[in-house]
Amino acid sequence: MKLFEYQAKQILESEGAKVPRGIVVSEDEDVEKALTLAGLSPPLVVKAQVLVAGRGKAGGIKLANSIEEAKQIARNMLGSRIKGIVVRKVLVEEAIEHEKEYYVAITIDRAKRGAVVLASSMGGVDIEEVARKYPDKIIRRSIDFTKGLRGFEARAIGKQLGFKGKLLMNFTNLLIAMYKVMRKYDADLVESNPFTVKGDEIILLDARIIIDDNALVRHPELKKVPIRETGEFTEWEVKAREMGLTFVELDGDIGVIGNGAGLTMATMDLVSYYGGRPANFLDIGGGASSELVKKAVKFLLDFPKAKRIFINVFGGITRCDEVAKGIIAALEEARERKPIIVRLVGTNEEEGRSILEKNGIKAFADPVEAVKTVLSS
């Protein structure tokens, strides 16, 4: 789960990081009053609290030279949509005049089974681009998870960024705070892009925290971001998640259902390999019940991008008869009919196939033959 910028900043500040003075204003608050009372010194930055990439370019970050102007901007921003997401809150902060913008992040190090610090003096821009164009400009340092991030490691990174003296000490404290936050909140990512330097202080201009979804149960203190506001999911993905389906929307027109993430991806790839374009990824997982299968099939019948549906099941724990029953049940209840091609092998294959064929659906054993049929249907 991504936290909003203001949440990330509050958490990091509580561990000792410095952020610009600011105030969060909600849709349902009196913007005028809140901003008058806050006593901020212009110039100010008004930042839409939406979790979409490229918020700045989409008009979600604006400068105000007076409190009045900030009020005006905030009022306009609240309730508007940035890349389709409604702005429920804005963060109004004192603008920090600065020259250099730096990048720093701590994330999971899959290879070393620990954490990794990434830092760069080329912050403020798309860091993935920096990483690809100027790999030398990114400092990477793996952190042993048993030991934790220690001061000397943070100092070494700070020195590489060119910091010295008190500033180096403050950078060290920042990194240690970021690591603490990572561990305390089960974060996948704690990032500031950019942060800047003012005198001896390190100031986080932006901040981002992503919490491991699997760990959310351990963090009742974190307010759940409503799924529609996360900016991570399309409308149909939101619907799917609300129904408990593992679904990703794609750009093609062949609806894809598979059992298991790997097989479902492979099925998408197979469609593409034979010249088609998958409309989605929908994984019914291992041991799916007919109920779940029915739900998934109905979902794709409703999903407008999917013009045809290809169901690819390799029954291991998943029973083919359950799958077949689910498909038939979905079709019975469906408002719309779409061509459905099923490839079904494995446990209870015969029963499954006979259920389908009784209902006029051919069940293929060979996936390639099945794909070709999908594409020619």
Binding site: R110, R113, T146, A215, G262
Partner: protein
């Protein structure tokens, strides 16, 4: 020989009284796996498909000191505890089927396990099978057959699919391991490749990768660095997956500039590992290699 699990494997099933645990205990027993005990706290004294149940692994070991492997079906909230229990009681291999374990917990127990010389398979994995010898996992046993191909995979069903094509064409498997779909797993491709390298029975290795992370790239580097002495064929799922989206597995996501399909294919082909276009062509490459 096979790797990790074989005819000497004696299994404890942790979480045996749950729906999944009980169901797969039955299937493993049917396959011939030697399950000596089950564990569910508070259910000591019960019996699941003839397997005696104990409250703790320690108690299970008192009556079954030959147990050396554990398979965990415990729900995510309690799974980490079960993993530590298995490690501290000296299990040499711990197969963690459970999905949705927080990644920080996995990081902790995976590091701990390594310090205690325990192999963790998973989490979020289908387990390990050494066909004809034993199955410590949830894979359908009938798609595998004893033979000389080693399989290592980040995916479950895709493994069954590919194993099945191999089996049908007469290429049995020494062992097939699903290392799990999470970002942090107890074993990676390199760990398993190293084991296959030392396993006389294994003549070739199939790597089934997917987008996300850089396990495939590291495996490629390892193959180059060690002048890997056995032929390796790869398949990578997710060519059509968009960046920034989790594709079912927590680990299957292109992010922070890494995890792209193209990078993985390039890494493998540059070290002489052939990458199959579709899962069904893996067997064709194997045929060519084994012919040589």
């Amino acid at each position: 020989m096979a790797i990790l699990v074989d005819e000497n494997t004696r299994v404890i099933v942790q979480g045996i009284t749950g729906r999944e645990g009980s169901f797969h205990t039955k299937l493993m027993l049917e396959y011939g796996t030697k399950i000596v005990a089950g564990v569910t706290p508070g259910k000591g004294g019960a019996n699941v498909h003839g397997v005696p149940v104990y409250d703790t692994v320690e108690e299970a070991l008192k009556s079954h000191p030959d147990a050396n492997t554990s398979i965990i079906f415990v729900p995510a909230r309690f799974a980490t505890d079960a993993v530590y229990e298995a490690i501290d009681n000296g299990m040499k291999v711990v197969v963690v089927i459970t999905e949705h374990i927080p990644v920080h917990e996995a990081l902790e127990f995976v590091n701990y396990a390594r310090s205690k010389n325990t192999w963790i398979v998973g989490p979020n994995c289908p387990g390990v099978i050494s066909p004809g010898k034993t199955k410590v996992g949830i894979m359908p046993g009938h798609v595998f057959r004893e033979g000389n191909i080693g399989i290592v995979s980040r995916s479950g069903t895709l493994t069954y699919e590919i194993a099945f094509t191999l089996t049908r064409e007469g290429y049995g498997q020494s062992t097939a391991i699903g290392i799990g779909g999470d970002p942090i797993t107890g074993m990676d491709f390199i760990d398993v490749l190293e084991m296959y390298r030392n396993d006389d029975e294994t003549k070739a290795v199939v790597i089934i990768g997917e987008i996300g992370g850089d396990a495939e790239e590291r495996a490629a580097k390892y193959i180059l660095d060690t002048k890997y002495p056995k032929p390796v064929i790869a398949y990578i799922a997710g060519k059509t997956a968009p960046p920034g989206k989790r594709m079912g597995h927590a680990g299957a996501i292109i992010s922070m500039g890494s995890g792209y399909y193209e990078d993985k294919v390039k890494a493998f082909t540059s070290v002489g590992v052939k990458v199959a276009d579709t899962p069904f062509r893996v067997v064709e490459y194997i045929k060519e290699l084994i012919k040589d």
